[in-house]
């Protein structure tokens, strides 16, 4: 491929969460990196051969880093391929996807990591980094080759949507991973208590659906943090959903433990009532909780207690969703709506734009050791231009994902990606 022309994005509102900066200015990209992001670059003279784009006050920010996205490749290409996921990502302002290991075959061998990186290089338009399995076959019994997997390109270790039942296995894995400074990402949900269909409570009782109590999450989280206290390996709770978990996490952070957490955009956007008349697109794992939990999550995002917001993108085809609620698969797609859904929290006045973007780009990049999430000169030119105000209605037929299971079906959103740039190359443009 030829080197893209230098690109000058002028007259923009520049938001760089890595520096807590929000100012009017221009951004110059060349040779795949950010040359400068400052006020008055265009006025000082446009470099030879540079393409100039007038952003008309639109926001420029680092491309989003989505730390938790399930992609079907290899093994379930009918749900999503690396290529289709990458186009969905680009349309949603995501320039880095961190894909999950529960594929077929499972990402528990360096050769599979290598396969995904090669497929992504050849077919994807955004960057793709795999998380590898924490235990062989995701069986929760023996740890994977953490050192060799990391050396082949795995950015973190997780058993995906499965929780480790054995404290001893998790303890050994944390101990071993510490030697490699590897991050362990854990889905905190006790398997014996999470067999239900939705959040346990009055609404589930009315619908006649079996419930999943919040304790299923807090018990595992508390156990894990005890283990981290002894071992001091880097630990990340994959998807917290309730106020009680936040209290547990806050105590651990105050005690100085190396713990961080993600919250999915679904849990920040919806509550259990959205399930309504058994709408399976709102069946996610862990389940949507009560409104007071959603409010607590938003507050924790604003305060910085929550490190990362993820899409938890999980494409499911029609056959597994058009089923009675209890029998339907969990999961919702989210790459294409990640930024717009995040902007809802800004428009509602709950969270500052820079805080939302920090949790969507800078912080996940830091945790994963990726050169992303910043507009500092010299950083790779992975950036997005978006209109934070533009209203639109989501039409599932226009989605780029291979699956259509979006909970934002028909939703009114405000804020839209205009242009997505990866390594200096425009990979999506709103027309």
């Amino acid at each position: 491929m030829t080197e893209p022309h230098p690109l000058l994005l002028a007259n923009a509102r520049i938001v760089d969460p890595s520096r807590g900066a929000d100012f009017h200015g221009d951004v110059l990209l060349a040779q795949g990196v950010i040359k400068d992001a400052a006020f008055g670059i265009a006025a000082a003279g446009v470099p030879d051969g540079a393409e100039v784009v007038d952003c008309r006050g639109a926001v420029i920010a680092p491309g989003l880093v989505d730390m938790r996205a399930f992609v079907g490749e290899p093994g379930a290409e009918h749900r999503e391929t690396l290529a289709s996921a990458s186009h969905a990502a680009a349309a949603g302002g995501v320039t880095t996807i961190v894909c999950q290991p529960d594929t077929d075959p499972i990402v528990d061998d360096p050769a599979i990591v290598d396969f995904i990186l090669r497929r992504a290089r050849d077919t994807a338009v955004v960057r793709v980094h795999p998380m590898a399995a924490l235990t062989k076959g995701l069986h929760g019994e023996e740890m994977t080759e953490i050192g060799l997997l990391q050396a082949s390109g795995a950015v973190a270790f997780t058993d995906g949507a499965r929780s480790l039942a054995s404290a001893q296995v998790l303890r050994r894995a944390l101990t071993y991973a510490r030697d490699f400074d590897a991050l362990i990402v854990h889905h905190t949900e006790d398997a014996t208590m999470s067999g239900g269909a939705m959040n346990e409570g009055l609404f589930a009782s009315r619908l006649g659906l079996s419930g999943i109590p919040k304790a299923a999450e807090t018990i595992v989280l508390e156990r894990d943090l005890r283990l981290v206290d002894g071992v001091r390996g880097r630990y990340h709770a994959a998807s917290l959903t309730c106020r009680e978990s936040l209290e547990v996490l806050a105590r651990a952070k105050e005690a100085g433990l190396p713990v961080t957490c993600s919250v999915s955009i679904n849990h920040l956007s919806f509550n259990e009532l959205d399930v309504g008349e058994y709408r399976t697109f709102f069946k996610v794992s862990p389940p949507l909780r009560a409104e007071e939990d959603r409010a607590a999550l938003i507050q924790a995002l604003a305060s910085g207690l929550i490190d990362v917001v993820v899409s938890d993108h999980n494409p499911q085809d029609v056959e597994v969703k058009r089923l009675p609620f209890a029998e339907a698969e969990a999961g919702a797609i989210g790459l294409e709506t990640l930024l717009s859904a995040g902007l809802r929290l800004v428009h509602s006045g709950d969270v500052d734009l820079v805080n939302v973007l920090h949790a969507l780009s800078t912080r996940p990049a830091e945790l994963l050791g990726l050169r992303a999430g910043t507009l500092r000169p010299g950083a790779p030119a992975d950036i997005i231009v978006f209109d934070a105000e533009m209203p639109w209605v989501l039409d599932p037929a226009l989605l780029k994902s291979r699956s259509r299971n979006t909970p934002f079906d028909g939703a009114r959103l405000q804020g839209r990606v205009l242009r997505t740039i990866v390594a200096g190359r425009t990979v999506y443009e709103y027309v």
């Binding site: 080759e145 060799l148 071993y176």
Partner: protein, 315 residues
């Protein structure tokens, strides 16, 4: 009689290196030097233990340690009997203490005991009237291995004090590591342990060792690289992901050995897992002392048996 020959140990049993003083260790090594000379002669037989009965009581399978003790006893003139308990009374449900009492009634003079449980040899020693030598108990101690390693090092380097010794691998399950750390520390070596965190016992730094988690840092400028056997048979759970990854990061090959001093020497207590903790090129290479360790084993065990027998009644 020279000085070494007059040496005695102020104890009836040898259960571990713990509790041995530096002069006692040096005394045993000096005595062993005499037996190295003896063992290289055609006439290897002494009458020191004539009339004495030595029973090698092995609750855990062993080839090299058991044969080493057998040869040592026989060269000193003792009557040596080997008992592999896994094949006899243990299967019939007899307890450790009952076995000890039964054997004790036969008036042995020396019992050489190996057991899979830490502390079992000390327990047995309290119930019998003869000398007891620990030939390895669980993950606790293997004192004659540490003594033979020290003798091998001293003969090749001329000293132990001040040497940098890197003990690498499965320290958690290794009785060899514990005995060696104690002995080398007592004699003034600078001891390092090198292992993944999952194979390090809790609080190992309190043993007076430097802890390293990579071979690159742990082997830097080492005089002695002591590899440990990966005790796969003791791995109840998942301590390491795979043999492949273990060899990649912790297996001693020529590239990793280059981090040590140019004249560094390589040791291994055996039996080796080639391609797991050590590469064949290193195990059989010019820097390897592995075969010499086996030779020193017989001499050291003769010294231990001799020194302990001097304290026996009617000696």
């Amino acid at each position: 009689m020279n000085e070494a020959s007059a040496f005695t140990l102020e104890r009836r049993d040898l259960i571990g290196i713990e509790g041995l003083s530096a002069p006692e260790i040096v005394g045993l090594l000096d005595l062993a030097e005499e037996f190295v000379v003896l063992n290289r002669q055609i006439e290897k037989k002494r009458t020191t233990l004539r009339g004495r009965t030595q029973i090698n009581l092995f609750f855990e399978a062993s080839t090299r340690t058991q044969s080493s003790f057998e040869i040592a006893g026989k060269r000193l003139g003792a009557d040596v009997m080997n008992m592999s308990v896994s094949t006899s009374s243990l299967k019939k449900g007899e307890t450790l203490i009952d076995t000890a009492m039964t054997l004790n009634a036969m008036h042995p003079d020396i019992l050489v005991v190996r057991h899979h449980a830490s502390g079992a040899v000390a327990l047995l020693a309290r119930k019998v009237d003869c000398c007891v030598v620990n030939a390895g108990d669980g993950a606790h101690e293997h004192p004659t291995q540490a003594l033979l390693d020290a003798l091998t090092i001293r003969r090749n380097k001329g000293r132990i004090t001040g040497l940098v010794v890197a003990v690498c691998g499965d320290v958690l399950h290794s009785r060899v590591a514990r005995s060696n750390i104690l002995l080398l520390h007592t004699l003034g070596a600078q001891v390092r342990v090198v292992a993944p965190s999952t194979l390090l016992p809790t609080g190992i730094e309190r043993f007076g060792v430097e802890v390293h988690r990579t071979m690159e840092s742990g082997l830097k400028d080492a005089d002695i690289v002591m590899m440990l056997r990966l005790q796969r048979e003791r791995m109840a759970g998942s301590f390491i992901p795979s043999v492949k990854e273990y060899f990649h990061y912790y297996g001693l090959d020529e590239a990793k050995l280059k981090r040590a001093k140019p004249d560094a020497l390589v040791m291994h207590p055996g039996p080796m897992n080639r391609g797991v903790e050590i590469d064949s090129a290193v195990a059989d290479g010019a820097q390897s002392l592995i075969r010499e360790q086996v030779e020193m084993g017989v001499a050291v065990r003769m010294a231990v048996l001799d020194a302990l027998a001097r304290k026996l009644p009617n000696a």
